[in-house]
């Protein structure tokens, strides 16, 4: 038939179900967005001239792995203190950073990174080790767990 090719292709049941699932997922996400707020945002600057670095904490079987991004930091000034189950990181910047165009922090000069990380109770923060990746200005802090395995705990 001449018009055969022009006829819209019929959707099969799987396509219909998939579309329904997608629509349902979108509705759910929209409700979720409205309920929680679309974005979790927070300021990582403080008017005392300190910056909060980006940090990633990963738990492994026998340790916690903390990766800290410290762009423009002078890693020679890095200070890490571990007490109780808390790790405190401080590091000076290589140079002062000022953001004149940004009205909110116009008068602040940023000079230092500062961050406090609270780890679970089983973190042995007195035995942490630091690896520096100078070319990326990234540091990795390895904090062992007090009990490396369930067997050791018993």
């Amino acid at each position: 038939m001449v018009f055969e090719g022009r006829r819209r292709k019929r959707k099969d049941i799987f396509e219909i179900i998939k579309e329904f699932e997608e629509a349902l997922e979108r509705e759910f996400e929209e409700i979720f967005d409205r309920f929680l707020g679309q974005y979790e945002t927070k300021s990582m600057w403080c008017s005392d001239g300190t910056l909060e670095p980006l940090v990633e904490v990963k738990e492994e079987e026998d340790k916690y792995l903390i990766t800290v991004d410290l762009p423009l930091a002078n890693l020679k000034t890095l200070s890490i203190v571990g007490k109780y189950n808390i790790i405190e990181i401080r590091c000076q910047l290589k140079r002062d950073v000022k953001l004149d165009k940004w009205v909110i922090q116009r008068q602040t000069t940023f000079r230092e990174y500062r961050k406090t990380i609270e780890l679970p109770e089983d973190a042995d923060v007195s035995k942490f080790q630091v690896r520096k990746y100078e070319n990326f200005s990234i540091i990795e802090i390895v904090v062992p767990k007090k009990f490396r395995s369930l067997r050791e705990f018993r």
């Binding site: 996400e29 979720f32 974005y39 300021s43 990582m44 980006l54 950073v97 953001l99």
Partner: protein
């Protein structure tokens, strides 16, 4: 206003007439892994001195914000133009509910503008990124023409894996609507901004588009960019976590 269209809770508009030369490209700068797309797209706009010609806004999907640049209010997602290039940059991460409508809008807009190739620069998070000096770039394409372009450049094709997020939906939708979408994947930090990955994307793009892009300032300013984009990275990361971005590190079933 030169052109305005409502699309499923989103508004796309052009403030000037856009005359695109051929072959035309639409480069996307939506925040994703390592902010690779955001950094490379905004650098492209600056380096080529592209003109702002429109934007996308939404009362339904975007938070109630107005971005002010050089004293002027702007929408969160802006469109820039020069010669045969359009670039879209978003100042905010695309929330999960907005991903599908924005992806559909972008592919539809590309069709209407007669765009030859949508270019998606995507960061693929690699856990050992600190041990990689020069991130590798891979590609995939929904069209034969796109494949021909990329094969000439001699870079590796992305063979197996998952993509999660807005670029995944744009890729699927482009394939469905027969729009050419070239996706460039650069190895990147998962949770930190990665201008070095953006440098690799831009160096591939400059060969692909046959344009000169001076990458020296980007290399020199990399640490400053990382410092200034921490908050966008943090909010993007939270959205990516909700999108189950961890899938990207899984092996697809067909690989077994």
């Amino acid at each position: 206003m030169y052109y305005i269209e409502e699309y499923d809770g989103l508004t796309i508009f052009e403030t000037k007439e856009i005359k695109l030369k051929s072959p035309s490209y639409l480069m996307l700068g939506l925040p994703d892994t390592g902010l690779v797309a955001s950094i490379s797209a905004s650098y492209m706009v600056d380096a080529l001195k592209m003109e702002e010609v429109g934007g996308i806004d939404s009362y339904r999907y975007f938070p109630p914000i107005t971005v002010i640049h050089n004293g002027e209010p702007k929408p969160p997602l802006r469109i820039f133009h020069k010669d045969n290039m359009l670039v879209m940059i978003s100042e905010i991460p695309i929330s999960p509910a907005a991903i599908h409508p924005i992806a559909f809008l972008i592919v539809d807009y590309a069709r209407k503008k007669g765009i030859d190739h949508i270019v998606s620069p995507v960061g693929i998070g690699v856990p050992n990124r600190v041990n990689i000096e020069k991130p590798t770039v891979y590609w995939t394409s929904t069209s034969k023409e796109g494949e021909e372009i990329m094969e000439k450049l001699g870079i590796k094709k992305f063979q197996e894996g998952f993509i999660v997020g807005p670029y995944a939906i744009i890729l699927k939708e482009a394939k469905r609507k027969r729009v050419s979408n070239i996706v460039l994947f650069a190895e990147a930090f998962i949770e930190f901004p990665d201008p070095a990955a953006a440098v690799e994307i831009l160096s591939v793009l400059s060969k692909m588009l046959n344009i000169q892009i001076d990458l020296k300032p980007l290399i020199e300013k990399a640490e400053e960019i990382r410092l200034k984009t921490r908050e966008l990275m943090l909010s993007t990361k939270k959205v990516l976590d909700r999108l189950k971005k961890g899938y990207e590190r899984q092996l697809p079933l067909m690989y077994v």
